[in-house]
Symmetry: C2
Subunit: 664 residues, 2 copies
Amino acid sequence: MPTTAEHPDRSAAPGGGSTAGPVAPTSGTTRLLPVAPGAARVEGGWWAERQRANRERAIPEGRQHLEDWGNLDNLRIAAGSHEGEVRGPVFMDSDVYKWLEAAGWEHGREPSERLLQDIREVTEVVAAAQAEDGYLDSVVQERGGAVEVGPSGDAGSRERYTGLPWSHEHYCAGHLMQAAVAVSRGTGERGLLDVAVRLADHLATTFGDGPGQTRDVDGHPVVEMGLVELFRETGERRYLDLAQWFVEARGRGLVAGHGHDPTYFSDRVPVREATTVEGHAVRAVYLAAGAADVAAETGDGELLEALRAQFAHMLATKSYLTGGLGSRWDGEAFGDPYELPADRAYAETCAAIGGVQWAWRMLLATGDALYADALERMLYNGFAAGVSLSGDEYFYVNALQVRGGSHADHERSPAGGRQAWFGCACCPPNVMRTLSSLDGYLATTDADGLQLHQYAPGHVAADLPGGRLSLAVETDYPWDGRVAVRVLEAPEAPVTLSLRVPAWAEGAVLRRGGSEEPVDAGGYAVVRGALSAGDVVELDLPVAPRLTRPDARVDDARGCLALERGPLVYALEQRDLPEGVLVDDVVLDAEGVPSDAGRVEELGDAVRVRATGRARAHEGGPSTHRPAGDPLPGPGDAVDLVAVPYATWANRGVGPMRVWVPTA
Amino acid sequence: MPTTAEHPDRSAAPGGGSTAGPVAPTSGTTRLLPVAPGAARVEGGWWAERQRANRERAIPEGRQHLEDWGNLDNLRIAAGSHEGEVRGPVFMDSDVYKWLEAAGWEHGREPSERLLQDIREVTEVVAAAQAEDGYLDSVVQERGGAVEVGPSGDAGSRERYTGLPWSHEHYCAGHLMQAAVAVSRGTGERGLLDVAVRLADHLATTFGDGPGQTRDVDGHPVVEMGLVELFRETGERRYLDLAQWFVEARGRGLVAGHGHDPTYFSDRVPVREATTVEGHAVRAVYLAAGAADVAAETGDGELLEALRAQFAHMLATKSYLTGGLGSRWDGEAFGDPYELPADRAYAETCAAIGGVQWAWRMLLATGDALYADALERMLYNGFAAGVSLSGDEYFYVNALQVRGGSHADHERSPAGGRQAWFGCACCPPNVMRTLSSLDGYLATTDADGLQLHQYAPGHVAADLPGGRLSLAVETDYPWDGRVAVRVLEAPEAPVTLSLRVPAWAEGAVLRRGGSEEPVDAGGYAVVRGALSAGDVVELDLPVAPRLTRPDARVDDARGCLALERGPLVYALEQRDLPEGVLVDDVVLDAEGVPSDAGRVEELGDAVRVRATGRARAHEGGPSTHRPAGDPLPGPGDAVDLVAVPYATWANRGVGPMRVWVPTA
């Protein structure tokens, strides 16, 4: 990777207005910068289909859900324009903001009068609920003496800021700020930004170490990211200072002071001293992402190093093959190192999204390809599985295994399939805002050139110091590993074009002008020199199906292998097995060579993978254990195993499924 | 087993007074009957030491805990004799009742003025709190409009019986009834029984299908067992009828009518239609045990058959090697079939106790040795691990694995070691009442003779139809497999003496009068004919250490073996491994032959077990997965593995531990 810390000055100063996607770093310590909104576009293939469904179905239906479940009425009640009692969990407002953020980015991708009208209407509802002094939280404003229930059954907020571990007041504020930035950058309209600024000003006055200020932190981070981005958008330094204060105040006993165990809230250890992620997974990765923003803007190398170590420990010990994060239903939490149950994986869709956000910020800050690799794994698997191919049904929990006889005893149970909405509806609008801002994760620039991190058919352009570089990306990735980058316009000066070679892509090849050279996996293939319109650089990533094994310490996957292909993890679904053969009893041939098994239109045109295996007899018996000398059931008849991308499972009905498959 | 359904008429009629241990069947459909209290006595060895610690430390300290945590004050407040607000969870009274039950049985084992005084004092506190109409629940009586928090964060009872899924009003009543029966049978005093009868009369008037009666069930079963035993003690048929009504009303939408998902509450399927256990494990097994009581008393063969199938499915798919029940922290619940994580096993101590209670009732009803086997496995492992050797510290959760780096983030975390008490203190007094009534599980009688189900040094006697049979049991079981049964007194008529041969005891031998014969494992060795004082029957159970493997479908233990010895499951603790060798990286030699490794006084004189293994290098690396072709770390240096009974783990400090050990 290029090592220069200089950048085009496009984004080098805060408050420069609508400049980039969800993250627009302003500091010279940031290694890479995002490209301008609209400068990178997904125009075909897997993600374009997901984005189309998001735009055409999820976002319009989402607004209706916000009406039906009472989120908008809560705000109207707080504004005094609607009768009744507020409904739902204390963080209901945040779903409105995430939807607004999705709509904002989506309008930026492709303007739409209908979308703009929706944004204006919902913005009005939000603005009307804001208190005189800038405070805004409809449920806390209205519910008064009502008691909110925390994870340990404790009472939460009764009035402003008295129960921050569970009241989600800053959490809602943070999502409002992110939405306001998105609407500003995506539409140019500043109505929601004004609301967010008034709230941020109120927070900056209220919280901190100063006289009369409150020393406390929200139990659910996200306000840190929101404040930094609002600083980037407005240039108001106080917002960055407050974000920094919130990050530093963490891990110093504030949550415990409310009588809660701090682990769940990422409040056991100061962020810069932590060596791992722990507790509630979404909270943990949102906090880390916000801390990465703070580190980038303040040039805090020590904090960045701590985050780097935490991310590495997460990847090495607490991440699922799917990139899913969070091993426990109990507390929706990270487990101990190597605690990675397939069946009870929580792997909340929101945690994958938070993981993407953290990875992206680490990538911008460091330029290290491992973050782009992690982001890709999360996106194509743990995130993509969270939404149906139709775009409007969601998994909250993303298990890697569902057994026969599994009983859906919860609206989040994987065995119950994806749901249109949830009582706690954090995931659906989180998916929406991620898909509508996805283009922003494709590419970055630095002073020397442009980096392509993710591959999809489309266009990428950037104004480099020497002039404009404009590229067409032609590919059928991830189904095909060939990525052709065609130069449409180039500066006269030499540029550096960097193409990510994923860690799994052993044997990748770079072709240019008739020559071909092998490139190392797990980094970037770099083309340096002058480019001209019409030049084509082709990267060939080997996406042949492969077998993957778990680390020796991963107890739950011991003796198993998984199928992968390119960035995609594969899964066996019961419906693809021969009659009478149960997923629970299938054995994979460890010596077999998996192969492609054709594309399936109803699964988003995905390539299936074929492997050889056996249908072992169900052992059964009176107990769950046997004398060691009792032979295992024989391997049984050979079975053709056809696997589908994990991201597409449960789109043809839901049934038994597994990612890790035992070997004989 | 003998098949006759006739019994000595000692217990054949209800209301016969103090006749037997915790379960005193009256119906002719019950295959076996318990012996009279005091007629079976543990007088040495493992359980005698546990009982001594229970009597000398746990029970006296328990009364103090009930003072310190407010359980007794809650009752005093309800009685109007104490100022203040009630404290703790809604089921606080039940801990008082379980403690009273323990004290009652303990007084029956060995009378004590001090204990009797304690029982009288606490009984007075309880009696004073009872309402005019018999109702009794201090927290509901006092807390008035306060909101209790259910498993889904829902509000529970605000007044009598309005929130039964979570209010535990019948649950507390059921424990009161069990305590009252124990105090009556153990001391002959009927003060507590009068309180229980008034409450039971109130319940019988209030609940049912009659005019003006309420159709509802408590979210937490136990009242079924309590009512049946109170029927047995008093002869009042209404109590049995109400227990039957509660069992039949289950699974018919009552809990769902309160807005809860019924699975957690064992209310999804009618008991007689259920094919498995599901939901909250303690609730499920308490319900099943109560249903078994109802089936026994009503001669309901269909219900008994359903319970038999449920028990079999539990053993075959939802029981840990330790007999532990409940695979999920979330909901403290049974998982799907074969969902048996070692690390996040919940295996609540109370669930093992409920399992013992259910198994005992099934054994009485059917005479099938498999229930005595299951009971023994639960007692020696999942239950025994729940209490420290000192007798006064408790595990709530009984994991089969604690990894290095595990962080105790909950008072119930195994990594935090046993605790003196809990905010939700169901387990400690449940352990106490189990240990103080343990003698009752040793033996039964039928018309033909006596059955010895569990082995411990001591005496067993019974008045058989032909006269008194009195036996001395001489053994160092479970450390030694020889059990000598010496006849002290015998009827002139022939009797049948049945000695259980556990399913693991392949190669067992029965010796009598110089002759020796092999006996089948998994049933009873039967001696038929006249016995005389001085006769000795010796059963020799092979307890050599053995290796056990999991069923092929148990994902979490795949590729692992466990060490067992007699009825005991063994565990590796970090402290017994050589310096620098981590439990997390140990590999067991699957071809090795484990052997005894001497006794350890500080571990209750337990026999340790030695096995051969290897210390594999920690694989580590950047992710939790690898290409399948990456070789696993080599097996490493040979290591002497010394394992201790699972029941004794965490008695020398707490650290990494595992039961299932990977093989190379």
